[in-house]
């Protein structure tokens, strides 16, 4: 009887893991290979906007940003976290937790749902990095 309960517990855990993996797989963004044009707008602390246009073979935004860093007057820094890269600084402006500030990612005018290293780049995408604060 006791063994049966243990097996039910183990199987329940395995079912939860399988369901979680399924949800993860279904909701993970798919990358696109090949040459793509994109724009990147940076809105800094004072609300000043700087726009960049470029082409890339990169599949994810962070890779495109790394390329852009080498091509144009753009720079960024980020911390690697267990949830992916977290952008901490863009063009020298740091977003600090102590200021309740962060760099938000917008994709085609919508608030980004993924981190820079899991946000796919598709042809014609318009990205925006905006310095924002929270309460």
């Amino acid at each position: 009887m006791k063994n049966r309960k243990i097996w039910i517990g183990i199987i329940s855990l395995l079912v939860v893991i399988a369901v979680f993996l399924g949800i993860y797989k279904m909701n993970t963004p798919q990358s696109v290979q090949g040459d793509k044009a994109y724009t990147l707008e940076v809105v800094d602390k004072e609300g000043k906007s700087t726009k960049y246009e470029s082409r890339t073979d990169a599949e994810f935004l962070s890779q495109a940003m790394e390329e852009l860093q080498e091509q144009q007057d753009f720079s960024f820094e980020g911390d690697k976290t267990e949830y992916g890269i977290m952008i901490t600084s863009v063009n020298g402006t740091q977003a600090k937790d102590s200021d309740k500030a962060y760099w938000a990612i917008y994709v085609n005018d919508e608030y980004g749902q993924y981190g820079a290293d899991s946000q796919p780049v598709t042809d014609g995408d318009a990205f925006k990095l905006a310095y924002e604060t929270y309460q």
Partner: protein, 172 residues
């Protein structure tokens, strides 16, 4: 028999020691994503020390906030660890290694989902859901690690703690 509702000097020292152990084990494994001993020790402390362990859980949360600074995760820590103490109190009546193992593994698996609640208030359900999904691989690793840690360490650590709690007459 001492009254259980009163906090004694022994309680304060015990809670301080438990908080210190939680902080020390957090640092020990902080470089390995998804692997931690905080859940294991909080469950063990609760088995021996009951509801008062919530104060050690809160002490640990506030110590982390002091060390790492303010952030959204502060809210998560303040409710997550006391929640584990409360869940352990519910499971404690079964007095079984397997009950604690399933609790610990389930807590690890659901850690991201439970931690995503503040994002519901900040950014709405989509932000909450996305944040949870991004961490699912780590939640799975967390659940499996918690399972193995409890299965492997429960008996030896339980016996050591039983000796310590008996020797120093620490009781809830």
């Amino acid at each position: 028999m001492k009254p259980t509702s009163k906090f004694t000097a022994r309680d304060i020292v015990s809670i301080g020691c438990m908080t210190a152990i939680l902080e020390a084990v957090k640092w020990t494994l902080s470089s390995i994503p998804g692997v931690e001993l905080v859940s294991f020790f909080l469950i063990l402390f609760t088995i021996f020390y009951g509801w008062k362990t919530i104060l050690a859980a809160l002490g640990f949360a506030f110590l982390e906030i002091i060390l790492w600074g303010m952030g959204i995760w502060n809210f998560m820590y303040i409710y997550m660890w006391p929640l584990l103490v409360a869940l352990t109190m519910l499971v404690r009546k079964y007095d079984s290694i397997w009950a604690y193992t399933f609790l610990s593994a389930g807590f690890g698996l659901c850690f991201g989902a439970l931690c995503s609640i503040p994002y519901l208030l900040i950014g709405g359900p989509i932000t909450m859901f996305t944040w949870w999904i991004a961490g699912i691989p780590y939640d799975i690793a967390h659940g499996i690690a918690n399972f193995l840690i409890m299965i492997l360490l429960y008996k030896p650590v339980y016996h050591v703690m039983e000796k310590v709690f008996t020797k120093y007459k620490m009781q809830p």
